[in-house]
Amino acid sequence: MSHVAKIELEILDLEILKGACQRLNLEFLENQRSYRWYGRYVGDTPLPDGFTAEDLGKCNHAIRVPSAAYEIGVVHRQGKYHLLWDSWHSGGLERVLGPGAGRLKQAYAIERVTQEARLKGYRLCEKQVNNSVQLVLTV
């Protein structure tokens, strides 16, 4: 082993995000400017960094999750894509995607690494380890 690094995911590529939606059978709604949520910020969860209550409900694209009443908003800011959603249990998003829409982030990271491995010609092996996915790249 040479080193171990922890990475905080940033969503930088919209096409990869679309691929992640496809992987999870979610519907990517290109150019949909609003997403379904409770409709009013009640202060029960902290706002994402750099966002105000007025920003909620507005987006550049949206993601529809089958069996969930609420949707995810995709907001493009300073070269990054931010995911906005209402985690209220009746909305159903957390039930499908886990806390913090973690399963969508996981799918994005898998798609991103898989595409790059293909481009670089690296051998890639994907396996499920408990609730995590392990990708092994042979350089």
């Binding site: 040479s2 080193h3 690094a5 990475i7 940033e10």
Partner: protein, 67 residues
């Protein structure tokens, strides 16, 4: 064999581990993944990181003096 192992949890946490690299090449060879995925929060170096490719190996031999 040089390998890069990427663990992605269900909560979206990512850890990247390199294996089989000697010296600082593990950092440069895995940098593309960090650039693709986001911000590096922490890095833990292992003994192999401090090895150099031209490092001479010292082999210690012990002679059996008893029996």
């Amino acid at each position: 064999m040089k390998q890069i192992i990427i663990d992605i949890s269900e909560t979206g946490e990512i850890s990247i581990e390199t294996r089989g690299f000697v010296g600082r090449s593990c950092i440069t060879e895995s940098q593309f993944l960090k650039d693709l995925l986001g911000q590096e929060l922490s890095v833990q170096l292992t003994p192999a990181y401090y090895q150099t490719t031209d490092q001479k190996q010292t082999v210690k031999k012990h002679l059996p003096l008893c029996g």
